[in-house]
């Protein structure tokens, strides 16, 4: 019964995540940028922009330059989470891919790193009064949600082991549209419930920063306004202005 509920929950969450994020990304992609606004100094070529974005995505370059503490915690959290997510691929693949096997030992400890990073970010949010000032309840809850996911995940590994094979059967089943039993243990149920919530709120929350980053004109535009004329669809539709100086004016 509960297994069926979780199965339905995950189908819905997956659809909302993919469709919701997809729609937002489409919206960003379709919204025109009327002017060239790269924050300079900016690369003069597309290849340069790819490098700039590469550094932003993999190293959080701007954050590194602007705030070292946030950067440290952000890197711990995001890279921890990345490893954790990759490690989780083992529950969706049979046989498990070789490189997923390879990162397995690191993946486990990455969970701690991720939670550590999150706790650091939470502490800053509470302790630094400037950041407390700009925080809304949702900002705290987002961190708590992720910490909750991390802690329940780690507890299944180190405190109250669960039947991980059953969990894997459940997810492999979902991928073939059949519902297998989940182990009825609170750790698993809470962990999976929180993950489903995260997936559902992803497209309607600030988590859209991940795809949004790739659509920020200030970082993604090439600095070549003088060489190439940049036009947006709506702007090219504006009424023509007179080509020569109107005679009654100014003379």
């Amino acid at each position: 019964m509960l297994s069926t509920l979780y199965a339905v929950l995950f189908y819905i969450a997956t659809i909302l995540l993919i469709v919701g994020t997809g729609m937002k990304v489409l919206k960003y992609a379709r919204t025109p940028a009327p002017l060239k606004i790269p924050v300079s100094p900016a690369p003069r070529t597309r290849a340069g922009v790819v490098q700039r974005m590469g550094r932003e995505v993999t190293m959080f370059e701007s954050l590194f330059k602007s705030n070292r503490w946030i950067w440290i915690f952000a890197i711990l959290f995001h890279y921890g989470m990345l490893l954790v997510l990759l490690r989780h691929l083992r529950y969706f693949t049979q046989p498990v891919w070789w490189w997923v096997e390879l990162i397995q030992p690191f993946g486990v400890y990455a969970g701690f790193v991720m939670v550590l990073g999150l706790l650091g970010l939470l502490a800053r949010r509470i302790v630094v009064n400037r950041i407390r000032y700009i925080s809304n309840p949702s900002d705290y809850l987002m961190l708590l949600l992720l910490i909750g996911i991390g802690v329940t995940g780690l507890s299944m590994k180190f405190l109250m082991p669960v039947d991980i094979l059953m969990v894997k059967q459940f997810f492999l089943g979902l991928m073939r549209f059949q519902i297998n039993e989940l182990p009825m243990q609170p750790g698993v149920l809470i962990h999976l419930g929180l993950v489903a919530i995260l997936m559902i709120i992803f497209p309607i929350s600030k988590l859209m920063h991940a795809p949004g980053l790739f659509f920020a004109p200030s970082r993604t535009q090439v600095d070549n306004a003088r060489e190439f004329r940049h036009m947006s669809a709506w702007a090219s539709q504006l009424e023509d202005l007179p080509e020569s100086i109107p005679t009654e004016e100014g003379k």
């Binding site: 940028a33 009327p34 705030n67 950041i131 309607i204």
Partner: protein, 517 residues
Amino acid sequence: MARLEIDENGTEKYVVRDPFHIPDMECGAMADTNSFKAAPDHNEDLGFPGELLENWQEVAIAKMGELAKKNRAFQVYLDTCVKCGACTDKCHFFLGTGDPKNMPVARQDLLRSVYRRYYTFAGKYFPWLVGARDLTKEVLDEWYTYYHQCSQCRRCSVACPYGIDTAEISMAAREILDSVGVGQKYCNEIIAKLKKTGNNLGLNPKALRATLEDLEEDLEDETGIPVKLPLDVKGADILLITPSADFFAEPHIDGLLGYAKVFHAAGVSWTISSYASEAANFGMFIGSYENMREVSWRIRQAAKDLGVKRIVFGECGHAWRVGYSFLNTLAGPFDFLDQSYPIPQHIMEFTSDAIDAGILKIDKSRNDEFIMTYHDSCNVARGSAMGRKEGGQFDLPRKVIKAVVNNFHDMERDTIRENTFCCGGGGGLLTDDLMDLRIKGAKPRMTALQQVTADHGVTHMAAICAICKTQFSKVMPKYGYEMDNIMSVHQLVANAVILDGQETEQDDAPETVAAGE
């Protein structure tokens, strides 16, 4: 960075000199600092309603939605902020005033909270969760106050991991305000004036001609050579577009004389246009594409009418942003100009090329009374570029300065180049009603200047923005400098350049700066 210093009486004291000093937050510190609102006819001149509309709330919300559809930056920036806080200590207005609403993310949130309420799922159904709020008259007033405490300098955008640019949000907010009939006097009055006379000052062609003739006389008195400041000369090679402050304000005029000398020495024919006698484009400050386009378009018309081959911009910060980054979009294509030069070109690029070509005879010692530093104007630094290499907007002005002065010291690294602190008067804030804000906003820049004065004895600062120059000449006296301690870069050039046949007091032959030096 507190340091022990000994003053002239021999007493020791600790002086705090830290441009990055983060003040204690003081809620509402600047809540009552407002610039005057525009009179109805000035709003109407720009195509906006004269007074606050009856259904302003509806119109404002609709306008917000429209802007989100028309401008990717606005849409993406509203969605992606994670409230990490990296930008919170980057704004000179927060550092100078301590008002938390002057922290960039808090400034964005004034509008984001309303956007969330009307345009997002979470804000519609769980407003308390995401800090969403209704658009009330108080909120509208708050927008007016704090979006006119942003100089659109983009320093926060450099710090943000997603490049979120508060300037874009500020511009959008001002456009929304204008669209419901709440305009700012300073900006709207000036744009209206420009549309009537061709410049922000309302200077008519006759007065402009008289001014230029006076300056020609001054130049001839100084050099003994008839250096011209041509106006409306058809068939000239170069159309100079320069801020109208260059025609009458100090130290701007001295910069204009510098351009004239460089053009003269380079032997090019050039002209100013009375129809487009303004580089500044306040349409940018109010976020209005249409107004910005209309103002820019005059440059196209003047270039066609005069039949010039090139366009060169004088020293002006936001004008160069519009010129470099937007002009091609707004008033292009410029297929009728000579394609072998950048369109438009900055006077700094022109002078730099002239130096490389060895055309200018320079006597650096004529600037020996000054120990210089350079203020990177933020619109040039973060909104445009110069030359062919990335970062040319930082290197070219320094190269030109170093070619004409012997004593130059940069201010602290994190207060210059892409991290430069705004002068505190940009973005449509250069009005007396905001003087308190301007003085406070200048504090980080002034503190960095005081540092190099203490360390290297710097006496003067050069800039290439008309607004910066006016702002500094007003606020520097509050920080222990004279109003003429701010200089135009081309003023330094004018001092050092020696024209062919010019009689000089000194006997020693001027050195010629050769190519590549």
